[in-house]
């Protein structure tokens, strides 16, 4: 298989690419529109500087050569969601060229080349009533028309659906990291078309077909697999692959022809006369490059190399930029790397998943979370109390310090044998059956008694000391 992917990602700008309409998802139809993005007569485009800089940032993050001077071109075709009858895009002098993305494919690390990454505007959205265009009505919502996109075209370097999947995951992670896009396929801020051909190893590339309407990374992998088989079937039967564009039917899980080469659009590209060429001089590129956040792969390697974290932990921590930041902030509060990593991975992420929150919710509370972790490390409190304190930090608006709360509520771990002995004896007296089990040859029964001591002390008993005392009392 020879696979190339075209990814369109919406840039996280406040306004659209060529007008001041808000760049926002989910608004009522046709409320985020103006003469420019509606293509009213007499309207003219004005380039959004932030979008331009985010596109440069995207290119630099992908290791591309950024053009010192670039221009826009008109891509002409008719469709109801394209308000001007042309899309302002880039044709022969794209902003970014010749980059690369390192990915972790199942077969090992590999590099996928990036042919180009250019800036263009999005079209609107068609909504079909009754599921049919003829017969029913079709509605057009222009809220999305004019939203800035970067189109990232990969070299045909991928050879398996798994590699394609890994590429998409790596690309999404990178684009989120450098904060150019939300990369949310469900909201349409990341879309993917796949190009695929097959050949015998070493033979020249075969004829390729293009698959559109892929709504998830999994769909991309499935569609590629399906289409490769379709190609194989044709070739094995002695036929020829016809170059065409297909759509992915996610329900039936197969590709269906959309248009053939003959029906292919002639876009009649020509330079956009309403916009002047734009420059990306070296000092602008340098400024943007300097402001680039550390890419996930480099951060992962640094965590392993400098902080001594196991690769698995480093991977979990860097998969999401906000999680990595949380980790870094906890360390800045003085937690050793392994402690901070354990807290993030085993406690904080669990709470986030449970409550469906984002990691950023913890950031204002890092100092107090770190204090809890330190108290636990110092054995001032037990595991259970640590959990309770964490919940309190999250949910309460009180500003009491952790130390103060431990003191005021008497949450400190009780390790004093003298203090615990009475409780231990009480627990033993209360549970003749479990005691009998223990004495009858089931040493693990003591755990149930430890649990009760913990309950009686509201989790404050030092479990180790409690266990020792119980064993002593039980004889």
């Amino acid at each position: 298989m020879v696979i190339g992917l075209e990814v369109h990602c919406q840039l996280k700008t406040r306004t659209k690419l060529f007008c001041a309409c808000p760049n926002r998802y989910g608004a009522d139809p046709n409320t985020l529109v103006c003469p420019v993005c509606l293509g009213l007569p007499g309207a003219l485009p004005v380039l959004n500087r932030t979008a331009f800089e985010l596109a440069i940032r995207t290119g630099l993050a992908l290791g591309c050569e950024v053009a010192a001077e670039t221009k826009f071109d008109r891509k002409n075709y008719f469709y109801p969601d394209l308000s001007k009858g042309y899309q302002i895009s880039q044709f022969d002098r794209p902003l970014n060229r010749r980059g690369a993305l390192a990915i972790d494919a199942p077969g090992g690390k590999m590099t996928v080349g990036i042919t180009r990454a250019h800036l263009e505007e999005d079209a609107g959205k068609l909504i079909h009533a009754d599921g049919e265009e003829a017969g029913g009505f079709s509605f057009v919502d222009f809220n999305r028309c004019g939203v800035p996109l970067v189109e990232i075209v990969s070299e045909p370097d991928m050879r398996t659906p798994e590699e394609a999947y890994a590429y998409l995951m790596a690309l999404k992670s990178l684009l989120e990291y450098v904060e150019v896009s939300d990369c949310d396929m469900e909201k349409g801020s990341l879309r993917c078309d796949a190009n695929i051909s097959i050949r015998r190893p070493g033979a020249p590339f075969g004829t390729r077909t293009e698959i559109k309407n892929l709504n998830s990374f999994k769909a991309v992998a499935k569609a590629i697999e399906h289409e490769a088989h379709r190609h194989a079937g044709i070739l094995e039967a002695g036929g020829r692959i016809e170059q065409m564009t297909l759509t992915w039917d996610a329900v039936a899980e197969k590709t269906l022809p959309l248009r053939s080469k003959e029906d292919a659009h002639d876009y009649r590209y020509f330079p956009e006369p309403d916009l002047v060429p734009v420059t990306a001089p070296a000092d602008l590129q340098d400024r943007i490059r300097a402001a680039l956040p550390e890419p996930p792969a480099a951060r992962r390697e640094r965590y392993v190399r400098e902080l001594g974290l196991p690769p698995y932990d480093a991977g979990v921590l860097t998969a999401d930029k906000a999680v990595a930041e949380l980790f870094d902030r906890l360390r800045a509060e003085g937690l050793p790397p392994k402690v901070a990593s354990n807290w993030v991975m085993s406690r904080l992420l669990a709470v986030l998943n449970d409550r469906k929150l984002g990691p950023a919710i913890f950031l204002p509370k890092v100092t107090r979370i770190a204090d809890i972790a330190k108290a636990l490390e110092a054995k001032t409190i037990t595991n259970q109390v640590a959990g309770e304190l964490l919940a309190w930090v999250l949910d309460s608006v009180e500003t009491e310090t952790v130390a103060a709360r431990i003191a005021s509520l008497g949450l400190a771990q009780v390790s004093d044998a003298g203090a615990l002995e009475a409780i231990v004896r009480e627990v033993v007296a209360r549970n003749p059956k479990i005691v009998a089990d223990y004495r009858g040859g089931k040493p693990s029964a003591v755990q149930a008694l430890v649990g009760q001591v913990m309950k009686d002390t509201k989790g404050k008993a030092n479990a180790t000391v409690a266990r020792e005392l119980l064993l002593k009392v039980l004889g």
Partner: protein, 370 residues
């Protein structure tokens, strides 16, 4: 205070104001003749004293040519001087809005008001706007005026030539120095223009699809049918002709042969002017090769109609400012226009030359016999 809308050739495509869904406009000097176009409505309105000033747009001569044929002043500013925001785009790299007036001063003042950078038009210049009236009366003493031999070739009506040559003599007496110059690629202007302009227009007019506004056919079928019928019904013949021309010239396999080639010719035409302006301060000659023609005479001969623009299109292709001022009448009583072209951003001097000529002559005071 806007007094009203005026008639024009549909989408500014035409040289006679006959391509209008509202019917043709008549030349106030001879009601059986065209006022020129595409901004013929404004030219006629100003000529007929319905209004003192009016807007036009000039893509290939559509202000200057009707100004000449209707006996008023009309100016196309340097490309980028006046914002195109709000102008229904015909050919984006050529269109400019400009003033009509009875006198050069009126045109100058009106131009000053409409000029200036507009952040909503990326092609509008940030160059500061001078007071176009400040040097208006400074005369032409010592100014070098180029007279292009290509503007006086075959196809120039003898009566028009006589008026224009008289005008040049007036300028000479006022102290200007006339210099023979050559703009060798002038004859290729029409060909280049009638590739570039329709190409851009075919794209600019794609938005008229009946989806969001404008005419939508009553007989809808599939999406493609809706588009095709709405556009066929909604656009006039000349507009459809140019859209087809432009679509063809941009299409795969023809783009290099036509569009790119035309852009090269455009460059050569600009170079001609740049070279000329190294030796002269402005260029003078006729605006239109012929005076006002009878309504209907050229309506069925598009090429003949296109040739009306032969002397004005090169100004648009080069982006330079151009003014037409009345310079007399043919024996039949039809107005003739003197064209003054300046280098980029030199509207002041162009207007000054026009005023120097105007104050030595009685034309601005003449009114049509209505």
């Amino acid at each position: 205070v806007p007094l009203g809308h005026t008639n024009l050739d549909e989408f500014a495509m035409g040289s006679s104001t006959e391509n209008s869904a509202f019917g043709p406009t008549r030349n106030p000097w001879d009601l059986s003749r065209a006022p020129g176009g595409s901004s013929g409505g404004t030219a006629a309105a100003v000529a007929a004293r319905m209004a003192a000033i009016g807007f036009g747009s000039d893509t290939g001569g559509s202000i200057r040519q009707p100004a000449a044929l209707s006996g008023v002043c009309g100016m196309k500013p340097t490309y980028g001087r006046v914002s195109r925001w709000g102008l229904i785009a015909f050919a984006s790299s050529l269109d400019q809005i400009g003033p009509f007036g009875r006198t050069v001063r009126d045109a100058a003042r009106f131009l000053g008001v409409m000029s200036g950078h507009d952040p909503q038009d990326s092609t509008s210049s940030v160059r500061p706007v001078p007071d176009f009236e400040a040097t208006l009366e400074d005369g032409v003493k010592g100014l070098r005026l180029g007279v292009p031999k290509e503007f006086f070739g075959a196809g120039l009506d003898p009566a028009v030539e006589r008026c224009v040559r008289d005008a040049l003599r007036v300028l000479e007496s006022a102290g200007a120095v006339l210099v023979d110059i050559s703009l060798p690629h002038t004859s290729h202007g029409i060909a280049a223009y009638y590739v570039i302009a329709p190409c851009e227009a075919s794209s600019n007019l794609a938005r008229f699809d009946g989806v969001r506004y404008g005419h939508r056919t009553a007989r809808s079928g599939s999406m493609l049918e809706m588009y095709r019928r709405s556009r066929t019904e909604g656009f006039g013949e000349e507009v459809r002709r140019r859209i087809l021309l432009g679509t063809f010239a941009l299409s795969s396999g023809y783009y290099d042969a036509y569009y790119v080639k035309a852009l090269r010719v455009r460059r050569l035409i600009k170079d001609d002017f740049d070279a000329a302006f190294r030796g002269v301060d402005a260029i003078v000659g006729p605006t239109s090769p012929i005076p006002a023609f009878p309504l209907g005479e050229k309506a069925s001969d598009p090429i003949a109609m296109y040739l009306c623009d032969a002397l004005t299109v090169t100004g648009n292709l080069a982006g330079i400012p151009g003014l037409s001022v009345p310079c007399g009448f043919t024996p039949a009583g039809l107005p003739v226009g003197l064209q003054i072209l300046g280098h980029d951003w030199d509207e002041e001097r162009v207007l000054r030359i026009g005023r120097a000529y105007e104050r030595e002559t009685p034309w601005s005071g003449k009114e049509p016999p209505l």
